[in-house]
């Protein structure tokens, strides 16, 4: 029996919470794919721990999106019963793990953005979003430190690790522009003091990256052509495969609980 997708009334506030929740869930799921496969035990635990933090953040944000929507959805239906086109995450977070360098570069790009983002959201006029941000920023601080230390170790390591880290930076760079894009609905929330204006964080994001990448003897690309679409539901082919795994239990056994 096919399980149909839920419908979501995407008011600007619902959409805003969903986009952040989808980023956290999809990146958390990607990192969980390393569980049992990381190059060493400590790193296996590190990536799984970070995945847990992200999935925890996603749960809070989904619950809030469901409450803001005020229909019958909840954190589980939002995660398990939306199809690819209904997902609103950044293209960056759905990109495959690739090699270890690619996973850590993706992690650096995202956490160097998420860390100041959550800190800015702590002053949101929306009390729930401010509270979620206050929890999340504590976690993003050490997610960023973890990624930074690895990029330095890889970039300033062997020829092989240097070349792989640089290739990952060059490959993923085009997915970073989307983090700073804002649509009309979100612009209104920014004016209302509820949402964070990501444009104001770009300088700090770039400064963090330049510092880390410089220490790592790597370079940031100069090209500024950016790939977009995730926020509007236009995804790369990778997300569908990820969701088919993430959602397989609920799609196969509708309503299953532990």
């Amino acid at each position: 029996m096919a399980v149909s997708n839920i419908e979501v009334s995407e008011t600007p506030l619902v959409l805003y919470a969903l986009r952040r929740a989808d980023d956290a869930l999809i990146l958390g799921h990607r990192l969980s794919e390393w569980c049992g496969h990381a190059p060493m035990l400590e790193e296996d635990m590190a990536l799984s721990n970070i995945a847990l933090d992200l999935i925890g953040q996603a749960r809070e944000l989904y619950s809030y999106a469901a409450k803001a929507e005020g229909k019958n959805n909840d954190e589980d239906t939002l995660a398990y019963l939306r199809d690819v086109r209904q997902y609103r995450n950044l293209l960056l977070v759905e990109q495959p793990n690739g090699d270890f360098a690619q996973t850590l570069v993706r992690q650096l790009f995202y956490s160097a953005f998420a860390d100041p983002y959550w800190r800015a959201m702590m002053t949101s006029r929306d009390a729930t979003l401010a509270a979620i941000a206050a929890k999340s920023e504590k976690e993003s601080a050490y997610h960023l430190r973890h990624a930074s230390e690895w990029i330095i170790r890889l970039g300033d390591g062997t020829d092989e690790s240097h070349q792989r880290a640089q290739a990952a930076i060059d490959h993923l760079w085009a997915f970073t522009g989307e983090m700073f894009a804002v649509d009309e609905g979100e612009r209104a929330l920014i004016h209302a003091g509820i949402a964070v204006d990501p444009g104001t964080l770009r300088g700090r994001w770039l400064a963090t990256l330049s510092h880390v990448v410089g220490e790592a003897t790597l370079t940031l690309p100069q090209n500024d052509w950016m790939q977009q679409g995730g926020r509007a539901g236009r995804h790369s082919e990778h997300l569908g495969h990820l969701l088919s795994e993430l959602q397989s239990m609920q799609r196969t056994f509708p309503g299953l609980t532990w």
């Binding site: 400590e42 790193e43 635990m45 590190a46 721990n49 970070i50 995945a51 847990l52 933090d53 992200l54 999935i55 925890g56 953040q57 749960r59 809070e60 009390a127 729930t128 401010a130 509270a131 979620i132 206050a134 929890k135 999340s136 504590k138 976690e139 601080a141 050490y142 960023l144 430190r145 973890h146 930074s148 230390e149 963090t208 510092h211």
Partner: protein, 167 residues
């Protein structure tokens, strides 16, 4: 039979004591009161409600703790207790009691330092070994056996140990 009516302050204290007896399933020497996870207990007539705050967003122990609070309260004679999760203000290791820190150390886990050190991009921190007290220690991994711990090693006694990281 004489029924002694408990005043509301006494009732609340009894509910608080019951809830405060619940221990962290991952670190069973610490109660949720030691951890600062237990925020409030309110008793209104027959209704008792306990407010707890999650430690880490993804900490899987929270569901277990909520369940154990309900069981502890029912055992103490409170019907249909409720557990509410409050997110704000966000939990910090600064709320951990002195007694809790001492219990952690005795259990072999280095207690958390003040949270103002957590923002450094490349952290330089000295954590004393909970076994021998030496401060010649090194970080092995920022991530340990649970979300709240990091893995360290003592260079003096050569023992590895968990550090409850500041949050």
């Amino acid at each position: 039979m004489v029924t002694v009516l408990e005043n509301s302050a006494g009732l609340r204290q009894r509910a608080w004591d019951a809830a405060a007896s619940v221990v962290d399933p991952e670190i069973p020497v610490l109660t949720i009161a030691d951890l600062g996870v237990l925020r409030d207990v309110t008793v209104d007539g027959d209704h008792v409600e306990v407010a707890i705050t999650p430690t880490y967003s993804g900490c899987p122990a929270m569901n277990m703790i909520a369940l154990e609070i309900e069981v502890a309260l029912e055992r103490a004679g409170f019907q249909h207790p409720k557990v509410r999760t409050v997110l704000s203000p966000a939990w910090t290791t600064d709320w951990m009691s002195e007694e809790g820190r001492e219990k952690l150390r005795a259990y072999g886990i280095a207690p958390p330092q003040a949270s103002n050190s957590r923002r450094a991009l490349f952290g330089e921190q000295a954590v004393a070994c909970p076994q021998c007290g030496s401060d010649k220690t090194e970080l092995l991994s920022e991530f340990g056996s649970t979300s709240c711990k990091a893995l360290w090693r003592c260079k003096t006694c050569r023992e590895p140990f968990d550090y409850f990281k500041c949050h």
